[in-house]
């Protein structure tokens, strides 16, 4: 059974409908890229998967999102636990106002991990997973704000991984980074995809071509086409998809 299933999902901001009746399955342990011109609803779709949309004023959601068969918008669902399952990587790195160590430890601490030794080893483990350990192991207790942008993004990745999500949601994760850092992040994603379901929103077509196993193409709030990456890029079925891939619309 696919990990995440979206059924008839629609989202309104006030009276404007931003997502129109989206139905799609997100395959397990693969990298799925969501592509499309700006303003088409990619980020909204992403944020509706971990119910972060509720923090936006005037946002209204209808439809279902099933994770392991359960609708996350049902009344009894524990939002806090859901968000633990879905890690988020934003476009602009958001280090918390604490040290590097405390950033990664934030999630585990909040979820109940107290023992110093456990926390330390967890922090080290996930900094390694994000490919940041070597660069910061000497200065774990310095403020995270002092890291470079590329390092900060990897820190956010480590922070997200530390709560052991099943799904990693990424919103234009390399848009603010220099090419070298971007490359590092992409390599991490490729490795992590063996163990995690990864969803990447990106407006860089080439990035999608490099990373994706699976592609979702969105246009004006609708899901126009979805399928394996090879199929979408080589022989897209819909005219809008073709236009976008050719570069006619962006």
């Amino acid at each position: 059974m696919p990990h995440v299933q979206v059924r008839s999902l629609s989202v309104w901001y006030g009276s404007a409908q931003v997502l129109k009746d989206i139905t799609v399955d997100i395959p397990d342990r693969q990298i799925t890229c969501i592509i499309g011109p700006s303003g088409c609803g990619k980020t909204t779709l992403l944020k509706s998967l971990n119910r972060l949309l509720e923090l936006t004023p005037y946002a209204r959601v209808s439809g279902k999102v099933l994770v392991d068969g359960e609708d996350i918008y049902a009344d009894h669902v524990d939002v806090v636990n859901l968000r633990k399952k879905m890690g988020l990587l934003s476009q602009k790195p958001q280090p918390l106002p604490m040290s590097i160590y405390e950033n990664v430890a934030f999630g585990p601490r909040v979820h109940g991990m107290r023992a110093r030794k456990e926390l330390s080893s967890t922090v080290e483990h996930y900094l390694k997973a994000a490919g940041l350990w070597e660069e910061v192991k000497e200065r774990l207790h310095e403020p995270a704000a002092q890291l470079s942008v590329g390092q900060q993004q990897r820190l956010c990745l480590a922070r997200g991984l530390a709560v052991e999500p099943e799904v990693i949601l990424c919103d234009e994760p390399t848009a603010a980074l220099d090419p070298v850092s971007a490359q590092t992040i992409e390599r991490r994603f490729k490795e992590l995809s063996h163990d995690y379901t990864i969803l990447v929103v990106t407006h860089i077509l080439r990035q999608a071509k490099r990373l994706a196993h699976h592609v979702l193409f969105m246009y004006m709030g609708e899901l126009v086409e979805a399928g394996p990456a090879r199929q979408i890029f080589d022989s897209p079925a819909h005219p809008e998809t073709q236009a976008y891939i050719r570069g006619d619309i962006s």
Partner: protein, 282 residues
């Protein structure tokens, strides 16, 4: 030269004159009080109590200094304890829709402008109702009211400025509202909160009108919360009108000390606001 240019020159002159006048007046105040106060201040005054009765001609202003601290410091703490929860509610994500938030902001706006004499009068009604006399406790309560809108507004400004994406990132790790508010938002705003508290303290320590009703005056340092207490502003107020120059000297000294404290706190608070910004995330 055309008329327009004459007009321009004239107004430019007027503007310079006004600016000089305004800034000059403000500096004149500081100069007069510092000069007069420095002339009257003897180091011994800072550590002695007034001797020879309230209108006696010896001793110092220790009662006023200690009294002001006894009143303003707890008031600052209390104002902070009220302001922080309110500001946490105010920065909540669903702002705009929530009537609680809008009413609270309105209330803060209302409280902001209320003159301190009105807070003093209210303190008096509370005292009558609770059976209190002029005392440290009543004074603290009155000064808390005076400081509250200032502290709350300052903290609100910093908390409002916390970027939504930062809070979203924290929520995304599965933290609860309370955890995000206390572990992330508060932490991010710490310098701003400190600045707000300092600003409030500076305002509270200089206030006389609220204390007239509530704190009374005393030549001694109170031993309990129920006794009346002196304060620097009231020391100036009461002692200024005496015919004895030595007593008046104590008034000037008190004004000097008060001004120095207020200006120092003000400058320090600005320093804190600027310097500690880099250790948090912008």
């Amino acid at each position: 030269m055309s008329w327009r240019h004459i007009e321009e020159r004239a107004f430019k002159g007027l503007m310079l004159f006004s600016t000089a006048l305004v800034v000059g007046s403000l500096l004149w105040i500081v100069a007069v009080v510092l000069w007069k106060g420095a002339g009257a201040l003897k180091l011994s005054m800072l550590v002695q109590m007034p001797r020879g009765g309230a209108y006696g001609d010896e001793g110092g202003i220790l009662n006023g200094i200690v009294g002001s601290m006894l009143l303003s410091l707890p008031a600052t703490v209390m104002a902070g304890l009220v302001a922080l929860p309110v500001c946490i509610i105010l920065q909540d994500e669903h702002a705009g829709r929530n009537p609680l938030i809008r009413t609270a902001r309105l209330s803060l706006d209302v409280l902001w402008g209320i003159p301190s004499i009105v807070y003093g009068a209210f303190g008096y009604t509370l005292m009558v109702y609770l059976g209190l006399r002029a005392s440290v406790l009543a004074g603290i309560i009155a000064i808390t009211f005076v400081q509250l809108p200032i502290v709350a507004r300052a903290i609100d400004e910093v908390m409002k400025a916390v970027p939504r994406e930062l809070k979203e990132a924290a929520y995304a790790t599965g933290a609860t509202r309370f955890e995000v508010a206390t572990r992330v938002v508060l932490r991010q705003c710490l310098p701003g909160i400190l600045t707000g508290l300092l600003l409030g303290f500076g305002r509270g320590i200089g206030d006389a009108a609220a204390l007239i009703f509530t704190a009374g005056y005393s030549d001694r340092i109170p031993g309990t919360l129920a006794e009346p207490v002196a304060s620097l502003p009231l020391t100036v107020f009461y002692l200024l009108g005496t015919p004895y120059p030595e007593t008046r000297a104590r008034a000037y000294a008190a004004a000097f000390v008060l001004l120095v404290i207020v200006l120092t706190v003000s400058v320090v608070s600005r320093f804190v606001a600027v310097r500690f910004r880099r250790s948090t995330v912008s």
